[in-house]
Structure formats: structure tokens, C-alpha cells
Point group: C2
Chain length 143, copies 2
DNA sequence: AACCAATTCTGGACTGTGTCAAGAATTGCT
DNA sequence: AGCAATTCTTGACACAGTCCAGAATTGGTT
């Protein structure tokens, strides 16, 4: 039975090959991030707690931080909102409703990663272009 | 003597035509935003305080919020940082150093406002595409 | 010039997100 | 098994921003 995508052992392997120890808390946090796309830290906490019984806030924050540093998950932090997390780490962007804060994924509008091109880089070494589309979702347009 | 760009009376006019009352606090906040590009709320506070003597935090926040709602100024809120403000309200983007958090303006890479084009809008009514380029500034590249 | 209603400012308490620090527990290697 | 390094727990703390009630200011009216 070959390990399928996102099975526990896959997550363990990913953690190990990133040089991180494998702990129940981290596995549970990763699973929570995968199951609740774009969830915020406290939602992750609740989810993990219902799985493990009890987890400290610090353990959750640590897991989220260390995993996003090692690019196992990705952190999104739109203006006026707490940080959110997702397990997609490929190049894509986000579309957020100004009214209800709902958030959906959007594939890169142009292609692979040409969004990195800036007119004048001011000498900076650019490594990422983050794009957030703001608008009104279908549900909130009816008002 | 024609009023030049950004003279006090211009700011007053802008406030009035947005339907806002003109107060010393708001004028000072606007001037602080103009003079210290990309400053955070507490820097604005300090600056305004040194001009008016004493101002409440609430007055500063209220002025910043109401003026950015009416698009007299623009609020930027990059991940992991408090809100910043600037008086440029035309279409442009930002480039931030991951190390020292320095922030510079970048003109829209493509043109007027075609950044609004998303592959699939999911039914959302998109009104803005916010682009943040992340990288390392010249000074921080030397380490 | 003075008045009045609406708006705005003050001052203080409060919320929510996230971090710091010290000791206990767990992990992974030999 | 045993040991060093890493990670988790608990509780205190820092910071940005908001809420509230009362005082002060603004700008239109008479």
C-alpha cells in the first residue's frame, strides 16, 4: 500500500526532510491546516485540541511558524485580519471579500511566475510577488 | 498666488469635498502622512503630537481610518507589521525587505491597471489588486 | 455675532493576536 | 536503555487597535 499524498507518513517524511522533529502536535497542526483551508491560528488550535485533547497555544504557534519557515505550509496575512494558513505552497494568489472576509484561491493570472517582474527593482533582490485581489463576493453583492 | 499641491487649503478642500469636517488634528495627521511616507500609526502620533502638543490616540486612528476610507490616504498592511500609511493614492505597488522591513514604492509593472485581471474571478466583483514584492534590500544583501 | 445640532476629540478600559521565558517532557541518536 | 537536543506547557507580557461616555469643537442658521 503505497503512501498517498498527505497521508500521515508523508507529513512525517516532509517534516524529517526539513530537519524538523516529528511530533504529534505538528502532525495534528498540519492536518488541521490541510482540512480547514485559510483557517486562522485559533481555529487551528480548536481543531488540534479536539484531536489531541489539549495543546498549548504556544505549541500551535510554534508549529505554524516553523512549518511556514520551512515552506511546508504558507502563511497569508491580509490587511485587517489575523494570519491565515494553507497547505498549498505552489504559486497562486488570493481573492478576498471586503464585506465578509471570505477568501478563495486564484491561480496565477499570467502563468508560472512572471509576476516577479517589477518595473524598477530599486536594487532589491526580489524573491516573491504576493498578489491579493480585493472585491465583493457573490453572496455580499446582493445587498 | 494659486494654491499649490498639498498646501493646507488643498487638504482642507479635499476633506470638505469628501464630506468631512476640517479639524486641526486631521490636517496635522495628513501632513504627517505626507512628510513621513509609509509611517506607522505611532510614528504619525508622535509627529502630530510634536505639532499640536497633545492628541489622543483615538483621534489619530479616527483620522487615519476616515481619510483612508475616503481615499485621501492609503493604508498598507504587510504581513507581520502594523498598518502603514501614505498619501499616494494612484495605482502603484510596494517592495519590502524581509530583513530590515524597509519599504519602497514601485510603479505598476504592467501599466495603468491591468493587474485587475484574474484568471477566474469566482463571481467576485474585483475592485483592487494589491501587489507586494518581497525581497532583500541592497543594504541587507551584504551580510 | 451668537446659537444649536451634529460631528469629533479626550481619556481610560478593554480585546485579540502574538511573543517571551523557565522548567518539564519528548524525540531521535548511539 | 541512556543522553543531549529539541520541543511542549504554563503563565506573564507586549502591542495594535477598538469601544465607550462625556467634553469640546465645527459649521450652518438666525
Amino acid at each position: 500500500m503505497a503512501a498517498r499524498n498527505n497521508t500521515p507518513s508523508d507529513i512525517s517524511d516532509a517534516l524529517r526532510s526539513a530537519g524538523l522533529q516529528v511530533t504529534a502536535q505538528r502532525l495534528a497542526v498540519y492536518r488541521a491546516v490541510r482540512d480547514k483551508p485559510h483557517a486562522m491560528a485559533d481555529e487551528i488550535s480548536d481543531c488540534v485540541r479536539s484531536e489531541l485533547g489539549t495543546v498549548s497555544r504556544q505549541a500551535v504557534y510554534d508549529a505554524l511558524n516553523v512549518m511556514s519557515e520551512h515552506e511546508l505550509i504558507r502563511r497569508i496575512q491580509p490587511a485587517g485580519s489575523a494570519a491565515r494558513f494553507e497547505d498549498r505552497v505552489d504559486n497562486h494568489h488570493h481573492l478576498i471579500c471586503r464585506v465578509c472576509q471570505s477568501l478563495v484561491d486564484i491561480d496565477c493570472a499570467i502563468g508560472k511566475a512572471p509576476c516577479l517582474i517589477a518595473d524598477d527593482d530599486h536594487g532589491y533582490l526580489i524573491d516573491e510577488a504576493e498578489v491579493i485581489y480585493w472585491g465583493t463576493c457573490p453572496g455580499c453583492q446582493q445587498d
